[in-house]
Symmetry: C2
Subunit: 717 residues, 2 copies
């Protein structure tokens, strides 16, 4: 997979010698020469004559992809036949286009795969069998083609084997938090790839590669703009720009959504109110929506953050979230558009435990939302912490469409300098048992619509993509974009199988590489939790930028301070959310309450999330809580060092530019892990008044020093 | 030069098919396979055994470059010999290292080339002749190597020919206007390539390519930060980051400068004053400077913008520019550092014609600046307008070091969407006759120190570099970076010869390509002047962002409005700067005054810069002024269309991604040229009350519409 570079001769004076090696731009689509001769022959044969059963823009996109792959695999371009009866070897098309050559049973089987599904395998045409890829729609053919390409890349292709697949989630969506000035909120990979100023006239080729990358992992929807929205995106000038992007994405099966600022009728409509029940407001949104559809006939809809963190919303007018959402949904409905309404709401005027506020708001409204509304719920009730128990709303509303919001960008997880593979976190959430609405319910089964029959299903992820050449800042952060797509397509996939596939496509099929990179990936999440927020600690990051530790952060609104969350005092640490505390635990099903209400029974990873526990509380391994906290922080640092060793051992097998890139970042990660450990332990020791266990590396440095660190230009704010 | 791409098969639905074609990243260093067999044999022979007469980091950089070139030229790496007596074919080293094999005459000739000079040609060693590159210092060897590489790329190498060169300007410097949050003031190529947050731990390979590109065109100094400076760059944390960059650049002969905020003693030093005569302030700067040199032993010095556009400076304390500059110069002097002080000063409290203010400030201070101070003067007296007469200061101070400040980034020249090759503008300025201090003086001869004997010479350019993959936003803007380096090395070079070299290195040696791209390059500057500000018009751009026309911009301080500069009224148009007007013309030498004081004699390109002229004023071709203005605007649009046609005719000979990129931008440029023409002519017609000439394309649209256009997120502000 990787290439030999003469540049690997290291010069003592250069970190990397140069420059024109593998910069990571090609992501998991860095097609390489096929070394296996048998496979090469077979693939060459297929590519020598390809027939498409129809014509449409998506097939042109597929041809483009086959060209790119073929040029790299076998050093020449594929041939596309105009006449299927000549001598085509490889057939692609929709079930309908194939109908004359498929049996009714075959057709029914394929039809059952749904609109994004596909089938590939041998098809008999006029007495001969030909390898074929068949979708119910052109986009299914596209997904099938990407799957086929991956089988070649991973050397697992056999043209006699049948394979079919279809997504379990209808909308697999990226949420860009990109501002119109190209800054990206919580972006750590440079700036926004949307060059608004030069749109619509200038189409950056990167837009196409972005669409290719998304389609290759099944992502089919994108919200272009920040949820902290700017109403200007809804002006005609910006609609034309958004249209240009939608035109690029359409052949790749990707729909465009925009964020709607609830107060837009006032900002760009000249109205004095944004009251969702006001007829002028209703008219504004109807006309605005009609206008958008005049530019983008398949526009996806709006994504809205309302009445949260200062964003405008229906509460200003005494209306509830359903009234706000439904008004917008009504404007979209005639066009088949969707209204995605975020459940991430909490207020500085609300004294109730922040953990409870979203559930308190939305549970009573269950069933009051229109059919084309989806409530988009973050994985946990606080805010994308390194580890959160699942959001209670996944259990508590079941007469409303619900969707998931994951965060791919690593706001609280080391940003662009820490290697953290997030799929294990997402898998943990998706497999969490909600026990509601049914005893077997999990977050994943709720999202798939299995529990409620909801048809408009959604998994969204906050993008980690920016202008950095490798798209994601950290090369390994590509694995999170990749894994997000895979889990959104199939929430039952495992983080381990995704890690293996990503590694093979990105680095090498070499067994040592696959195994060692896999080790790094799979340990990385728990490692980060250990050195950041072990045992259920949360929200103790630096203020505002969330970079590095800040357990001492106080001042301003209570729920933006760290002590609000860790509640450390001379007796112990942790947030009592049981019935004796805030009561947030009782928003979950009784079975969950039962499992978690006893500090001796709750999985220790959630301990301090739900319980305030004495420093000498004894854990299952016999350690006291204080000791265990110290061991976790120390273990996090040690694990980073082990990741470094493992990576170093791969030097000869990884492209030198990629190797150096990751090596440098791992060195930063080690420093940052030590910083987290030292700062947090020194800080918490001021409450515990206990010595550190003697068998850990003793925290160095001075608490005042750590508190004094300032990052005035940290990215992503 | 260009490559064949299968991707060139255009699909109707895609602007560019993809993606992995030539994205312009390699600039003029996109080394290609040598097709000429004779040359290939000769080059292969040389590269088969290379001997360096010494060891140092710059030689490692040269080896790296030779590897990159060799791999592309002949498909294999060069061999570096440890023993010169074995069988080396190609020798590199300094004059001193070569001393045993060079005659005293040869040594003297090379020595005369100065510290950055080099010589290449055959050298006799033990009875045989070998091709050699010899510098006075290692950096000369580096410059010689880049020159040698260019001769291979342009197929002009002969190993029997001697060649030597040395720069005419000592400091050839890029000024980055990059902020610490990575925005770039007047940046149109994305964001700052300095990833401050991840420095010093993470060294982006792009830093090395940046250094290579600069060294390849002779640039040897860089100011990293915006002249509208942030004092944080002078904190220890940021010094460590700057040191990391300095370490990368050092082997390439590039020195780092930083911008110093005059009020830094207050912002980061805890002082209550920044008075340059205050002993605590003096002490602050001395310690700060010492600290910088502890990190960067060859630190270049400070670049300062003071008492201009709201920046702090010595005037707050009743001190003049010399007192401010000298205090900083004294802090730098023990370390051999330079203090570069900008002459771009004007005040909203000063009623005097802005054109005159810098000269008024600095002329009386001539001779009062320390030896290690350079006054950096913009090419013209206003602010990087599409065309300005040369700055009077180039004639009026001659007992002080003066340097040039060009603007490479196209703030007023179409930003990232207009193709404008700036070398003709710079050439025009450099060749302008100042008549002072001597009758033969030109701006160029003053800068070279020929007139005053000044030794510390400087040509600086405001960088057009950003995170865009092709570095400069517009592929053709690379030609401006290139040309800047070439002219800073040799201010007597012509824009035509630079255009030819850039084209050959960037696109192809094919004669048709060289000739047609040359046509486009050489017409582009006059074209932009025509559709923006013909006949001496200036500063009529949109407010603040300077994007597009804004001759109607009024309100706020007078010298930031357009009518201040165009002075259009019912009688005529233009700024009377003769003795009857502001008198600015009299800041020039009497010979200049004589040439320019009569509106019938002044070159028409400067007419409205110095004269208020009636609408019916007759020009040399018999047209009235009003007609001539209209013809110029119209001509600008027509020329853009001609550039489009010329470019289109090259489609088969240019890499498809590059072709599409430029084609899209030319289409935008055509629209913007029409916008300029229509908006300006409709606006000026409200004063002239005359019809447009019937033989021009009649301005379309409505003035109110053009005035209503808003660009709230235009880049670069």
């Amino acid at each position: 997979m990787f290439k030999a570079y003469f540049l690997s001769l290291a010069l003592s004076l250069f970190i990397t010698l140069s420059s024109f090696a593998n910069d990571g731009y090609k992501l998991w689509m860095d097609y390489q020469k096929i070394e296996n001769l048998e496979l090469k022959t077979e693939v060459s044969d297929l590519l020598s004559n390809i027939y498409f059963f129809g014509k449409n823009p998506t097939y042109e996109a597929i041809k483009n992809e086959l060209k790119l792959a073929s040029d790299s695999w076998i050093g020449r371009s594929p041939k596309f036949s105009q006449e299927r009866l000549t001598s085509a070897k490889f057939y692609l098309g929709t079930r309908e286009e194939f109908s004359q050559v498929l049996s009714l049973t075959q057709q029914a089987e394929i039809k059952a795969l749904g609109e994004d599904g596909y089938w590939m395998g041998p098809v008999e045409i006029e007495g001969k069998t030909y390898f074929s890829i068949i979708g119910n729609k052109p986009v299914g053919v596209l997904y099938g083609t990407y799957k086929w390409i991956k089988t070649i890349q991973t050397n697992t292709f056999s043209k006699d084997t049948e394979f079919s697949d279809s997504p379990k989630i209808k909308l697999r969506m990226l949420n860009h938090w990109d501002n119109l000035d190209r800054t990206v909120e919580r972006g750590y990979a440079g700036f926004s790839i949307w060059d608004w100023h030069r749109l619509p006239g200038y189409i950056d080729p990167r837009y196409i590669d972005y669409a290719r990358a998304n389609a290759s992992i099944g992502i089919n929807a994108v919200s272009l703009t920040n949820v902290n929205a700017n109403a200007l995106i809804l002006t005609t000038d910006f609609m034309k720009k958004a249209k240009a992007l939608a035109d690029v994405f359409r052949p790749y099966g990707i729909k465009v959504f925009l964020t709607a600022r609830f107060s837009a009728p006032m900002q760009i409509g000249g109205l004095e109110t944004a009251d969702p029940l006001n007829s002028e407001v209703i008219d504004f949104w109807k006309k605005k929506t009609d206008e958008i559809y005049s530019f983008i006939p398949d526009f996806g809809g709006f994504l809205v953050k309302a009445n949260s963190e200062g964003q405008p919303g229906p509460h200003e007018y005494g209306r509830n979230h359903a009234e706000g959402a439904n008004m917008l949904a009504d404007a979209l409905s005639p066009h088949g558009g969707l209204l995605i309404w975020r459940a991430f709401v909490y207020s500085h005027e609300d004294e109730v435990d922040r953990h409870m506020q979203a559930n308190n708001e939305f549970e009573p409204l269950d069933g009051k939302f229109k059919d084309n509304v989806i409530i988009q719920i973050k994985n946990g009730a606080i805010d994308f912490q390194p580890r959160e128990p699942f959001h209670p709303l996944f259990g508590s509303i079941n007469k409303t469409n619900v969707g998931m919001e994951f965060q791919i960008t690593q706001e609280y997880l080391g940003q662009a300098t820490n290697l953290v593979y997030l799929a294990p976190m997402w898998e943990e959430v998706l497999k969490s048992k909600t026990y509601k609405p049914s005893p077997a319910s999990t977050v994943g089964s709720v999202l798939e619509g299995k529990e409620t029959g909801q048809k408009t299903t959604l998994i969204a992820g906050v993008s980690n993509i920016g202008t950095d050449r490798n798209w994601t800042g950290h090369l390994f952060a590509q694995s999170n974009w990749f894994a997000f797509g895979k889990l959104a397509w199939n929430p039952e996939a495992t983080s381990a199988e995704i890690a293996e596939e990503w590694t093979k496509l990105t680095f090498s099929q070499n067994q040592e590489v696959v195994s060692k990179v896999g080790e790094i990936l799979l340990v990385s999440y728990e490692t980060a939790v250990n050195y950041m927020t072990p045992l259920g600690l949360h929200h103790i990051m630096g203020r505002s930028h969330h970079y590095g530790p800040g357990p001492w952060v106080v001042g301003g609104r209570a729920d933006w301070t760290a002590p609000y969350y860790h509640q450390a005092d001379s007796l112990g640490i942790g947030f009592d959310r049981t019935i004796d505390g805030s009561g947030a635990l009782n928003q979950y099903a009784p079975e969950v309450v039962k499992n978690w209400e006893d500090p001796h029974q709750i999985p220790e990873k959630y301990l301090l999330w739900f319980h305030h526990v004495p420093w000498d509380f004894e854990l299952s391994n016999g350690n006291t809580l204080w000791e265990e906290i110290a061991y976790h922080y120390d273990q996090g640092v040690k694990e980073v060092r082990q990741m470094q060793k493992t990576w170093d051992s791969l030097e000869s097998q990884i492209d030198p530019e990629e190797f150096d890139h990751v090596k440098q970042l791992l060195a930063i990660q080690e420093e940052e892990a030590e910083w987290w450990r030292n700062a947090c332990l020194l800080y918490f020791q001021t409450f515990s008044n206990r010595p550190f266990p003697s068998d850990i590396e003793q925290p160095e440095g001075n608490l005042e020093y750590y508190k004094s660190l300032m990052f005035p230009n940290a990215p992503g704010i």
